[in-house]
């Protein structure tokens, strides 16, 4: 996992396979990256993620709640068709917006990321 923060946004790039086993460590890493900052938004780049099951969906829901507590939200970018399918089926698509690229997410979030 790679991350950076800029303005009010935490950018998180995930890679490889996201399941119950790998989300355990990811949750801790994201918390350590998010908590000390005053970021409100989390922008996930999933373009290097090759597999994700419902544990990944749960992990994103948890981070969405963390962002909401600060008046922000979560944006998902770079999903492959397999991940897009579980994103839709799980109902996550109803609460979290997804974009083709990080740049598109930034445009949509506008001033709230600055």
């Amino acid at each position: 996992m790679h991350y950076k923060h800029s303005g009010k946004a935490l950018y998180i790039q995930l890679e490889g396979e996201i399941d119950h086993h790998t989300t355990k460590g990811l949750k801790e890493k994201i918390a350590r990256a998010f908590e000390p900052t005053d970021c409100r938004q989390m922008i996930f780049d999933l373009s290097r993620v090759t597999f994700m099951d419902s544990s990944g969906i749960g992990m994103i829901i948890g981070r969405y709640k963390n962002a909401q507590e600060r008046g922000g939200t979560v944006a998902i970018t770079g999903m492959n068709p397999g991940i897009e399918r579980i994103f839709q089926i799980s109902g996550l698509a109803k609460i979290i917006n997804s974009y083709a690229s990080v740049e598109d997410a930034e445009k949509a979030l506008g001033e709230s990321v600055q």
Partner: protein, 154 residues
Amino acid sequence: MNEIETNRPEANRHDNKISISMESKSQNEFLARTIVAAFIAPIDPDINDLTDIKTAISEAVTNAVIHGYKNGEGQIELTMTLKNGELHVIVTDYGVGISNISKAREPMFTTLAEIDHAGMGFTVMEKFMDTVTVTSDLGKGTTVEMYKKLTKDL
């Protein structure tokens, strides 16, 4: 002769069956879905089917690890059968069992209190596989049986 060869039903040429017993450990979620992908590889499945199957197996094994054995010790049996182009998967644990199966299968129902647990495991299995059957005995364990007809990648 060649004509006879090509007319022979392709589907059952790859009929096969394997059974694996693995410890209830979260790293075996990856192993289980990798094994199923290798198991069906000879029939060159459609990429969407492959992703669906890997995801469903990952959900079933994860359920066994976190619900069946509550992240403790135990054994998970995985049996895969390929017959006439249809995959049949059985995932069995000998853990705590499920008291109310229909409740457990409801979307977003979970017995875990964590904020980041989706409760979508059975919903995903049902969406990605053709049929999903769950049998469970309290204190004895749970068996999840799934079928999916495979379409060949063209």
